[in-house]
């Protein structure tokens, strides 16, 4: 439940019965290990039948196969990842089943994941938000594809980006190596967003990567003299993380774009970022 469910109960968004029901619905959607092993031809049909036959009560199919030597730990992890990717996010189930506003769920995630004071500013009022000339289409992609981006853009990656940017601005002794790693990570992240067809994240990441590349081509490091450099980068990372939460909860970026505050955050961040170039 990632404690996300508990937070929703604590905040009165849902009650315990509703949380249990949402988790049960998520379990109902789980593709069985048996089926995945068959589809991906990880275990022969003969061995699958054997494993079912010797399975003891309370033992999972996975552990039985492991005991029989049919599945290695590496394959078990792959199966588990496949299962995770194929099920709906808990937030999406809650939103659909109990008619809960996605923005409320995102707010809970926000409070849970990031104890730091929010650096993202609400740049605009609730209505008549300027979309900055950006128009996005939200293509249908598989849950697994989205999951790959979500998993790749982990909390560790986010922290690495923040720390690296701060060190680069401070012109740390490892400046060149840091810049190279930063550039490489951002390129991978941009490619992952592109592959997952997360257009808003991709757009922001593409410009952020251009700024870092510009810094690499700038031996005088003149970009760093711009006082807006650090705050702008951190704001961009916060918007990217906000997008990440929306994707995790609702499955895509549509809800982010339909939320005026979030849209305003994006337009504000990308405008400032482009001004650095």
């Amino acid at each position: 439940m990632g404690f996300f469910g508990n937070r929703l109960v604590e905040m009165g968004v849902i009650n315990r019965e509703q949380l249990a029901e949402a988790l049960l619905l998520q379990s109902d959607q789980l593709v069985s290990t048996f089926e995945i092993c068959h589809e991906k031809q990880l275990i022969s049909c003969k061995d699958l039948v054997k494993a079912i036959g010797v399975r003891e009560s309370g033992d999972t199919f996975t552990s039985t196969c492991n005991k029989l030597g049919f599945l290695s730990q590496k394959v078990i992890s792959e199966v588990s990842e496949h299962q995770k990717a194929s099920r709906q996010p808990l937030g999406q189930i809650i939103a659909e089943t109990f008619n809960i506003d996605i923005a409320s769920l995102s707010e809970v995630l926000d409070q849970q994941r990031d104890d730091r004071p929010a650096q993202v500013q609400n740049h605009v009022a609730e209505e008549n938000v300027d979309d900055g000339g950006y128009a996005f289409e939200f293509a249908k992609v598989s849950g697994e594809t989205k999951r790959q981006y979500i998993d790749f853009f982990s909390n560790e990656i986010k922290q690495f980006l923040e720390t690296s940017i701060q060190k680069v601005v401070a012109q740390d002794s490892d400046y060149d190596t840091l810049l190279m790693k930063l550039e490489e990570t951002l390129q991978q992240l941009t490619a992952a967003a592109n592959f997952a067809r997360m257009q808003i994240s991709f757009t922001l990441l593409e410009v952020l990567t251009q700024v870092i590349e510009a810094l690499s081509d700038d031996p005088e490091r003149s970009l760093l003299k711009n006082g807006d450099f650090l705050p702008t980068r951190l704001t961009v990372l916060d918007v990217l993380w906000e997008l990440h939460r929306f994707i995790e909860v609702s499955g895509d970026e549509r809800e982010f774009w339909e939320n005026n505050v979030s849209k305003g955050n994006f337009v504000g961040a990308i405008t400032k970022l482009k001004a650095l170039l």
Binding site: R16, D28, H38, V49, I52, G53, S57, G58
Partner: protein, 131 residues
């Protein structure tokens, strides 16, 4: 050596391994998930179910394992669950019969042979005979 009746059917050539696997998949798709079965039959309370999910998430283990670690999967629980599964989950053999993968005659003949095999070597099937 202990073999299940399903395996016996496969080894006897009555059903191919592929058809047996497909029958298991159909059986699993047409029935409730294990947590749902446990909740619907009040084997665990809502709070216990939530505790299991929370444990499962933090420890990255299966629902069954979390039930065991939290002390919910007792012998009595296991027996009750087995009874519920027998009552509520249609047998795999019904799928085989319904889809005409086996005939009723073949199935009963093979069941006879299987039972005879168990009687002949009960210990091979984990059955202890009282002295």
């Amino acid at each position: 050596m202990k073999i299940s009746f399903c395996e016996f059917l496969v080894e006897s050539g009555i059903v191919t391994p592929e058809i047996m696997v497909q029958a298991f998949i159909q059986q699993s798709k047409g029935n409730k998930s294990l947590p749902r079965l446990i909740k619907d039959n009040n084997l665990l309370t809502t709070d216990q179910i939530l505790a299991v999910y929370e444990h499962q998430t933090s420890e990255h283990c299966s629902f069954e394992k979390s039930c065991q670690v939290l002390g919910y999967w007792s012998e009595e629980f296991s027996l009750q669950l087995d009874g519920i599964i027998k009552d509520q989950v249609p047998s795999i053999f019904l799928y085989l019969l319904k889809n005409q993968h086996v005939t009723f005659t073949d199935l009963t003949v093979k069941l006879d042979e299987y039972v005879a095999m168990v009687i002949e070597s009960p210990s091979d099937f984990g059955i202890e005979i009282a002295a």
